[in-house]
Amino acid sequence: MTDAPKRTPLYDLHVELGGKIVDFAGWEMPVQYPMGIMGEHKHCREKAALFDVSHMGQVILRGENVGEKLEGLCPQAYATLKEGKARYGFFTNAEGGIMDDLIVSNAGDHFFVVVNAALRHQDIPHMKANLDGVEVTEIFDRALVAVQGPKAEDVVGELCPAAREMKFMETIVADIAGVECRISRLGYTGEDGYEISIPEDKAIEVSRAFLAHDDCEPAGLGARDSLRLEAGLCLYGNDIDQSTSPIEASLSWAIQKRRKEEGGFPGAERVQRELAQGAARKLVGIKPEGRAPARTGVEVQCTEGNAIGEITSGVFGPTFGGPVAMGYVSAGHGEPGEKVNLIIRGKPQAAEIVSLPFVQQNYKR
């Protein structure tokens, strides 16, 4: 990991907009702009925000029966994913742990996959080695931006009327400001919005066109993290990793019925066993009662004082108006309403198990 940090096609724009640049997974990314995390977060929930997510890996899969072949690596029903549709999923390992989470889109003559920045080096060889007869091409010449928020439809729709007609988890190719882009109606903030793949030499131009809208402001990785946590969405490396199963991570909803029944993906035995018998631990929402945020690694205790788990993500939720967290608790715990203690700097702080999300998701169904 001695490589110099990489820059996305939007780097110069981040600097121009006053972005505070940090190293994230080997990329120089804006953690916030002058508006600040709190302001950017609220702006996204109330209007619209533009995020650079070009550090994520964009991959094209071409070949016969790509969807069926992906089912050999993922517990999702990709064989039946219709053209023009996207679906959240994950690669599992032989032990049923999660190798990475991803979005797979059926783009008609190919499949389009987006994976986490930090795991590009793992996922691309993984697909190349295991998708027989599929041409796996990582795209290096396109940016990826997310426009998220209740006004996202106006921001993108003014430049691309076809985007207004799209529903949640649909994907199209269309022109934005004269540039051909892949537009997908999805995101990771809990809000309505789009992720847009743009040729790198036009990325700043298209981004400026979005920002020219009165309701659209740039937002950094800080707001992206607090938004996804309020929306109850997992962050790979924090809430899910190679050791956590999808059932433990409360991601059962992301495995379609046929796959649960038939198995046929790495680690299916564990996933099916946990579906039938329950998992040893479970990812839950945790609401600290005071103002002190509970960060990653904080111990969760039952009211009798025994350790029952650990916080995996914790921030102050700007829209929620207080600290919010997710963490694992052992079987027999984790019902919404259960009182627990969080050991923050050596002192127990009262908290409650709550159902996720903290802030209602606002998708365009």
Binding site: V31, Q32, G36, M38, G222, S226, R291, R295, P318, R345
Partner: protein, 121 residues
Amino acid sequence: MSTYYSEDHEWITVEGDTATIGITQHAADQLGDVVFVEMKEPDDEFEKGDDIGVIESVKAASEIYAPLDGVIVEANEALADNPGALNESPEGDSWIYKIKLSDSSQLEDLMDADGYKALIG
């Protein structure tokens, strides 16, 4: 009355053997939106370098390190109710502690305003 600065981005204003401690504007800007301040109680005794409180922003927690030895006389309770005030006036109303100095010779190790300006560039 004179003001000193620490390498941990605190300011210390001294009057006789008492002092007021806070964080600098630069520190507040670096932290971003402050959402929680945890402070020690009056009469708590501490030594230079001790962790005497925590400032939490949306994303991260940062310790407050004691810039010298002393005893807490008063903690700024207004920050408990309105932590965001620390972003508004970190070098004014939003001081953190009033303390009694144990060893005023330690002030010699701290920076003056020019020294601090040079530190933060």
